[in-house]
Symmetry: C2
Subunit: 218 residues, 2 copies
């Protein structure tokens, strides 16, 4: 694997008990009973403040890692649930959770059995709906990324599928000290991941812990 075109999981937040999203997901509550609690650490950062056009914010490791979420990526792959809370066909007039100018600014492959035409948004984001395998989605994303990395955008099941297929080169999981108790577990089926990845834990500046992993070269 060359340094370019890596598949990277970035700023993926889970609770202490391993849930990457809550229970009871709806279009109005896409994280279910978790609400925004897995993401509040990020709202405190200067990166987020900049994104929403406000001054201030923290400037420590949380901010540094959150900032990298938008750097060096030429494409994203996301599960359908991140684009629209399923199941079933995606309504024709639904254009995602991010308004008319989404922050991705690259092609975004949305994995779904309910394909539909590409969706061109303002600011460089283009949603491509694909009913395909992780391997094929990654091959297309790499081509679209033009030598830059590919972001593995979630949700939980999508991340697990790519981990199961051993396609992930780098991972960054944010462990938030709350217990959700229910929802979708990130680590299900990931026994002995530490044998495939060099894992290390780094303390954030807001009480969270960053788990950073690099796939070992075999």
């Amino acid at each position: 694997m060359s340094a370019a075109g890596r598949l990277r999981l970035s700023n993926f937040a889970i609770s202490l008990d391993g849930f990457g999203t809550g229970e009871g997901l709806t279009q109005d509550a896409p994280f279910g009973h978790a609400g925004e609690r897995l993401h509040e650490w990020m709202f405190a950062t200067a990166m987020w403040h900049r994104l929403i056009g406000e001054p201030g914010g923290t400037t420590g490791l949380d901010n540094e890692l959150a900032g990298r979420h938008w750097e060096g990526f030429g494409a994203e792959i996301m599960g359908r649930g991140k684009f629209h809370t399923g199941p079933g066909p995606i309504p024709e007039d639904w254009r995602g959770f991010w308004g008319e100018e989404p922050p991705f600014r690259t092609p975004v492959i949305v994995l779904t059995h309910h394909t539909r035409p590409d969706l061109e948004m303002a600011g460089g984001t283009r949603f491509l709906f694909r009913d395909t395998t992780p391997q094929e989605a990654l091959a297309e994303a790499r081509e679209l990324a033009g030598g830059q990395d590919v972001r593995l955008g979630g949700g939980v099941r999508t991340v697990r599928e790519f981990l199961d297929a051993d396609l992930v080169d780098e991972l960054h999981v944010v462990i938030v000290p709350i217990l959700l108790g229910r929802g979708q577990r990130l680590w299900d089926g990931q026994e002995a991941l530490e044998e495939r990845f060099d894992l290390r834990l780094e303390p954030g500046d807001s009480g969270v812990m960053h788990l950073l992993g690099t796939r070992r070269t075999s």
Copy 2:
């Protein structure tokens, strides 16, 4: 709650995916497929080296917290599985996993439906077998501890029972960056524990993470 007589969970190690012990527990493999992997961080500390009569060992936060495991406690409460891998009656000649001079050096209440006479060991440890509730076990342990704290010694189900009953005053969980994939989950049924405890994460010096919690005074 006065400062004395607190019930404290101390140096209780879990994997990143929340397992406090593995699968397939036997007398020869009391942690099942987890083996000693949840405890290797502690074997590196100066405290452990001292305990087994060897020089050296690390002297950072891991060692400081591991050392507190033996300080300020006047009694321990443990589940039967820590004393003898169940189920069923405990064989009459079984005297625990720790040899003739166990490191506890206090009374130790063993919660079991299969009671038997007290067991007096060398060095001050006395095992008391009780078929009782968490509340009554704690009341007895507090009396035996003579003003010192009571250690909640595990295993997983015992810790959960005491958390469920809201009897735990302080907790210290060590998160080890491995994925066991299966076994007994510490956090099952502990949704929103962060509302009852002030939780914070502190990085150890061997790659583990220490979760420290103090019950909020209501």
